[in-house]
């Protein structure tokens, strides 16, 4: 057993990686579904175990083939990526479980194994990006996750899903190329791909033109993946035309991993001194984040489709995360990380609600949601709970995020910034309440009977909605872990 635990870092990636082709070979729905769910739960178990091992500040290093750095490839787990691994695998476990009930309607008959194969591959990519300690590995895994998510998005029923997948493909490829060019520059300057090694050498190089160029390419590349304003155009289409479950999975994992990368590259590889003091990325990132918070929320107010509304809301919420980063303080990074966890919970819950609605009504436009408050009371209660979390009402996870972020801003004596953060959450109230009013106060055009979605869909939805409240009250898990992670990465770099 001891031997197995030692191999957890590689198993974290290997299980979904091997699971994906197996799904493809098994094909039979009845086997594929429980298999994929089991794989995702195995990942969750491993990631929580890994996080438990590193919480005391130790860094787990797993050397491939016994080759130590700088020669071999290594996986590195510290608090920061341990935390992200847990978020990603937990969301995968919940969404895959929901998939059992959902996939039938959202995905064309007989193609369900494709969904699971692609989803497991995507999970492989996301976990791989997060866990690896090798820069080129990051690019490879990022491509694995991107390519599989193009498939996932294209599985959407409407024809426009193809178009959305295509534009995501283009934008994603541009982003990945930028990242690759940046990595190329870094490799050329340092002659190593190992992150620890590279960090030492880059910081020794100091503020040279080559480093600046590499930084610019890397940051733009990651920002495209992260959908930082104004590189966000792929996101609304991708999220709204993909099958609802895919949106739930991607919204609560893919952008979170990109955010992790941004932290890792800025604080870890290039070093805060260079990124913030020399180049002053915060001077660019902060206004962009604030614009994202407002533009995303205002756009969300005017949407007529629930999933599209949620997608625009995500752009605003990503703004909160990057704003935390742009403060360039421990409190700011920790606030961003808290929001990674919290946003995954609430946005996951809301997209699962969208999946319930799609299951019941065949679509998620706000028109079909009229009067659902009486027809799907249990589902709609989850919508209200997760929606309130999005607004940041105390007692929900959203409040914990807001508190952390505004505190971080006030630590810098930025009273105006604090006010702007709070003001943007009023916009969230507007778009959430618009939906609530439609659901509870409007009557459907044709009478529909009262019927809830199957438990297999409803239970995961409520697990996430319930978690949005539980972790909103008992907030110490996310807050403490994020704080430790931020401490490690801001103080010690890698």
């Amino acid at each position: 057993m001891i031997g197995l635990v030692d191999h957890f870092p590689i198993l974290q990636v290997l299980i979904p990686l091997l699971g994906a082709p197996l799904c493809f070979l098994l094909r039979r729905e009845a086997i594929v579904r429980p298999f994929a769910v089991a794989a995702s739960f195995a990942c969750l178990w491993i990631s929580t175990n890994l996080l438990g091992q590193v919480l005391d500040g130790t860094v787990l290093v797993y050397e491939f083939g016994g080759w130590a750095r700088p020669y071999g490839i290594e996986y590195r787990v510290d608090i920061l990526n341990g935390f992200v691994l847990v978020v990603v695998s937990a969301m995968a476990a919940v969404v895959f479980s929901a998939g059992i009930g959902q996939a039938r309607r959202a995905i064309p008959e007989g193609r369900e194994y494709l969904f699971y194969a692609a989803a497991l591959l995507c999970l492989t990519g996301l976990l791989g990006v997060t866990i690896t300690g090798d820069v080129f590995n990051i690019f490879v895994f990022l491509e694995i996750s991107s390519l599989s998510s193009y498939i996932l998005i294209a599985l959407g029923r409407s024809r426009r899903a193809l178009m959305a997948a295509f534009s995501y493909l283009i934008m994603g490829t541009i982003g990945a190329t930028f990242l690759l060019i940046g990595i190329g520059f870094m490799y050329q300057m340092t002659g190593t791909l190992n992150m620890v090694d590279m960090a030492e050498r880059i910081q020794a190089l100091g503020a040279t033109r080559g480093v600046f160029v590499a930084l610019a390419f890397v940051v733009v590349g990651i920002s495209t993946k992260l959908a930082v304003f104004p590189l966000h155009h792929w996101l609304p289409n991708a999220y709204s035309f993909a099958p609802p479950l895919v949106s739930a999975f991607l919204a609560s994992t893919a952008t979170k991993v990109a955010y992790y990368l941004l932290i890792r590259f800025t604080f870890g590889l290039f070093g805060a001194a260079l990124v913030f003091d020399e180049v002053g990325i915060d001077l660019l990132l902060m206004p962009l984040s604030i614009i994202a918070m407002f533009v995303g929320s205002i756009a969300a107010i005017y949407q007529t489709d629930f999933k599209r509304l949620l997608a625009y809301s995500s752009i605003a919420q990503i703004g909160y995360m990057t704003l935390g980063l742009s403060l360039a303080t421990q409190a700011g990074v920790s606030a961003g990380l808290i929001h990674v966890f919290n946003h995954a919970l609430m946005k996951g819950a809301l997209f699962l609600v969208a999946a319930c609605i799609a299951w019941r009504m065949g679509g998620t436009s706000l028109d079909v949601m009229k009067g659902l408050g009486r027809r799907m009371p249990v589902t709609m209660a989850a919508l209200v709970v997760a929606g309130l979390a999005l607004v940041g009402v105390p007692g929900t996870v959203g409040f914990v995020s807001k508190w952390a972020l505004v505190s971080a801003a006030l630590d810098q004596d930025a009273l105006m910034l604090a006010f702007l953060i709070l003001a943007s959450s009023i916009l969230a109230l507007i778009y959430v309440w618009k939906v609530v009013e439609i659901v509870y106060f409007q009557e459907p055009e044709t009478e529909i009977e009262r019927k809830e979605p199957p438990l297999r869909l409803l239970v995961p939805t409520w697990i996430l909605a319930g978690a949005s409240i539980y972790f909103g009250i008992f907030s110490s898990f996310a807050v403490d872990v994020a704080k430790l992670a931020a401490e490690q990465v801001v103080m010690a770099g890698l």
């Binding site: 508190w403 505190s407 604090a418 109230l429 008992f474 110490s476």
Partner: protein
Amino acid sequence: MNPDTTILLWAMTLPVIGALGVVALGRWPNLRDGWTVAIGISTFTCVVQLIEPVMAGVRPSFSLPGTMPGTMPGLGLFFEVEPLGLLFGLVASGLWILTSLYGFGYMRGHGESNQTRFFTCFAVAIAAALGIAFAGDLVTLFLFYEILTFSTFPLVTHAGTEAAVRAGRIYLGILVSTSVLFLLLAILWTASISDTLRFTPGGILDGKIAGASAGLLLLLFIYGVGKAALMPFHRWLPAAMVAPTPVSALLHAVAVVKAGVFTVLKISIYVFGIDFLAADGLSDIMMMIAAVTILAASIRALSLDNLKARLAYSTISQLSYIVLGAALATSAAAMGAGLHILMHALGKITLFFVAGAVYVVAHKTEVSQLDGIGRRMPFTFGAFCIASFSIIGLPPMGGAWSKWYLVTGAFDAGQPWMVVVFMVSSLLSIGYLMPVVVRAFFRPVPEGEEDGMKEAPLLILLPICATALACIAIFFYADGVYRLLAPAMGLGG
């Protein structure tokens, strides 16, 4: 666990259990309503049992470590019973029983739908009000403050009509915006300069902030508490009158608005501290805002024909008495403010009960329709008269005491103009309340309307008489309340 703490826990969880029970018993209306009353009585009993230890100087408390928001060490949900909170808890839970009885009569007499949802939200709102009453720090208070807003939203929009939805939007929009934009910012600001957010006798801000910043923080706090209905953030209260009358009576004359002024008082006494407020004229702006609200709302009330709207503006005006009491920053004024929470609650709930009774019995909503109705409903309008006297501040009604201390406090503070404000406002309140009484008793019944006596149903009439009598009784027993509050106001046991 300390027995007092156990009682405190019960007092706060019972309404929640009550809400769950109401949901479970929804199919059997009689059982459901009986359950509500039983829970109301048990809750009130629990709160009453806290009086003795609190008067003996004990402060029952408990904390939940590891809870929200978690970023400050040692910060988690924290509850502590102190005199002012206990008074608010007593008012909210005691009047809940009477309002429940009244509510059954009203909702059934009026044939309202969705009564289960109604009484569930009602119980949650009371739980939230008790959470506010017993909150031991600013974050805990803010949590329940927001729960109260959201739990009363379904009550305001109960009718589900377009007008109700629009009113709900104003209600939620103003209350949430002010609380998030100003109150939360103020709390976070306080957190960034002070090492604690707990309510501490003498305040936590003295020496940490001064000058214009302190003034700005105070403004953020008092405007952040939208529930105190200071102008220009008062519009939500008249809008909320679209709700069924039991809601207007308990929530929008007692629980919600009192939660607002209670929060203002708490912040003045335990966060800023009366001495700090008094120093350098820090509270001058607050005083001005309150004075303007008192007068402007009274004048507005004069011109309104709709009875509930008139009462709503009267409430806005009376709430600012309490804010002004806090702003005067003397012990006597603070005592007056504390007493006024109770006195105004008893008076105003009676007035709203009457407005609802008239609506159920005669379907009348406007003051101009009330000619001669006192002869049809003598008990109801007798109660209206008593409660009006209390609001105006005439002895032997409870309202006389609170006004006495407020005016004394204004003299102590050396603010003769504020004495004038109180006096003018009393005259104005005569002007908007007495015409109702005069019309009801001395105007002839309009032609074509039946004349004989037709009182409200018993379930409605009993609570009306009870609260009206309480207005008188409290005049003679105000001493007990004074002794309860004295330690909090720095007046000695």
